[in-house]
């Protein structure tokens, strides 16, 4: 059943109790993303160590189960990475969500592979990638400012 692949337990758990939800005071990076066709709205906050290593990511915003779960997973999985590593990771995830790359279900990607179900629902891919695109924008703006 497709639907069960979309609404896997792990996704619903992240949706109901998203990790790292809430603002960060004085973040190094703060970026808002908006999906105009549906109104999903997300803001991500990043604290860096040494202007490069991601110390923590938080988010606020409203959205569907897919977008909330995907954002919640993002905050877990990118923690500890350098800006460059994070951008790479985001690109990889986006390629997988476009169906251009197979899903890897090891290491960091293990939990994320729950997102594979979204591929069968093309209209929902935007929900899954909103926060990722938003964070990427924020990271690149930060790099350009340095």
């Amino acid at each position: 059943m497709q639907l069960e692949e979309l609404y896997q337990t792990i996704i619903l758990e992240h949706y109901k109790e998203p990790h790292n939800f809430g603002e960060i005071k004085n973040p190094d990076i703060e970026e808002r993303g908006y999906n105009e066709s549906c109104g999903d709205d997300v803001k991500v906050f990043v604290k860096l160590i040494n202007e490069n290593k991601i110390d923590s990511i938080n988010f606020i915003g409203k959205g569907c189960a897919i977008s909330q779960a995907s954002t919640s997973m993002l905050t877990d999985v990118l923690k500890g990475k350098s800006i460059e590593e994070a951008i790479d990771f985001i690109e990889n995830f986006k390629s997988m969500m476009k169906g251009e790359k197979d899903f890897i279900s090891e290491n960091d990607f293990e939990e994320l592979s729950a997102m594979k179900g979204v591929l069968q629902f093309p209209v929902r891919v935007k929900c899954a990638t909103l926060a990722w695109n938003t964070l990427k924008n924020g990271l690149i703006k930060y790099q350009n400012k340095q």
């Binding site: 609404y7 337990t9 619903l12 066709s37 549906c38 999903d40 409203k62 959205g63 189960a65 929902r124």
Partner: protein
């Protein structure tokens, strides 16, 4: 009484299966309606038999297409009881009709410190054009606020309206709340202040009898695609003398009389407002759509929709986690609701898996969504081809949503 089985059989798309073997249950007619074979065939037949540019060729099929086009104008005029077909301007959609009035009326009449009045429940199409015109002209845009479950605050309206008010632009039936506004009362209030009034009838003309003569509104707009006709055809009704006073909107071929390099004379209303080759097939198909609606009877259609809406509300109310928005009575065939802790998108996706189309999001009414203090709503809307069985299937699919989300 409508014979829904017969009606359903006129709509080829309703025979279609989605997501495997699920029959299509279409509950998004407020966004756009499905089309009966009669309307689809009207388009094909036009191109197979009579296609030629209008108002140009002296030859037979050119005359034929022009007659068909102008007869459609007469049909529309009669449908909304306009005194003259010269009151009917064909546009792309309701949005363009509103822009036409905003851009020509404002150009001619609005000055700084004049006031424009709209409500807080407008569709974006009846809001943004006025924001832009207000900025360009220096006029002030004011808002009739919402109260209770989403009705207009008429007490506030009476405080807001004044001799400064030059135009009121108001939705008849809200596409999100379902509210039916007391437009008769507001039209005469407007006129008592010498203000003009435009009615956005996008959600009423397809569903009930509208009589512009009786209403006495100055302008009224709607879209063909929300009343069985194809996309790309909209209507602007205007009192003939008012249209005659307005400057042209777009310009070019068709709308002119005599042209010199430096100057041009324009044709009379309504052709003055129709620049370039119009959507001929769309216009003719709109005429067929009106024939179809009239053959059912607007009264019967309205009655059928009220029944469906009441049934849907009754059934939805049985699910305790569901909250319905909008007034409890005197409402159109649109029901917006939320499911506690479940985002409308997720509802829509799960329903879609059962072949059910519902709308999820802001419905092009972000100010209402903000007023409701939610991030989005789910919406069902009904038309002549829907049945109580459709609603039963919808409700049982909603229970599946609940199971998926509330189980873990």
């Amino acid at each position: 009484m409508l014979n829904i089985e017969k009606i359903k059989s006129d709509f080829p798309i309703l025979k279609r299966k989605v997501n495997g073997e699920k029959p299509l249950i279409y509950l998004d007619s407020a966004a756009t309606t499905q089309k009966p074979l009669q309307v689809i065939d009207a388009i094909s037949n036009y191109y197979k038999n009579s296609n030629a540019n209008v108002h140009r060729g002296v030859y037979s099929i050119g005359h034929e297409s022009t007659e068909m086009y102008e007869n459609a104008r007469k049909k529309v005029a009669k449908f909304i009881n306009a005194k003259s077909e010269n009151s009917i301007v064909f546009t792309r959609n309701a949005t363009e009709s509103i822009n036409l009035i905003a851009k020509t009326y404002a150009k001619k009449f609005l000055k700084a410190n004049d006031e424009i009045l709209v409500s807080q429940m407008e569709h974006h199409s009846n809001l943004i054009p006025w924001q832009i015109i207000a900025e360009e002209s220096g006029a002030k845009l004011k808002f009739i606020p919402l109260i209770e479950n989403g009705i207009l605050d008429l007490t506030q309206l009476e405080k807001l309206i004044s001799q400064k008010t030059k135009i009121i632009s108001l939705v008849h039936v809200s596409n999100t709340l379902g509210t039916i506004n007391p437009i008769e009362k507001i039209i005469s209030l407007a006129h008592s202040f010498n203000a003009k009034i435009l009615i956005d009838a996008s959600q009423s003309v397809p569903h009930m009898e509208i009589d512009v003569e009786k209403l006495d509104c100055d302008f009224l707009v709607f879209s063909g695609h929300k009343m069985l006709a194809p996309t790309g055809i909209g209507v602007l009704y205007g009192k003939e003398n008012l249209l005659e006073e307005l400057p042209p909107f777009l310009s070019g071929g068709e709308m002119i009389s005599e042209v010199h390099l430096e100057t041009a004379n324009y044709r009379q209303t309504p052709w003055k407002f129709e620049a370039g080759t119009p959507n001929v097939s769309g216009t003719i198909a709109l005429s067929t759509a009106i024939d179809y609606l009239l053959s059912l009877g607007m009264g019967n259609i309205h009655k059928h929709e009220i029944e469906l809406t009441q049934y849907a509300i009754y059934e939805l109310n049985k699910i305790p986690e569901i909250k319905i928005f909008g007034p409890t009575e005197n409402r159109g065939n649109v029901v917006s609701f939320n499911f506690e802790n479940i985002h409308p998108h997720d509802i829509s996706t799960i329903l879609d898996n059962d072949g059910i189309c519902i709308r999820a999001g802001h419905n092009c009414t972000q100010p209402i969504i903000r007023w409701l203090n939610v991030s989005a709503v789910a919406r069902v809307s009904f038309y002549i081809y829907n049945t109580k069985e459709d609603i039963d299937i919808f409700i049982s699919s909603l229970k599946k949503v609940k199971k998926i989300f509330y189980a873990t």
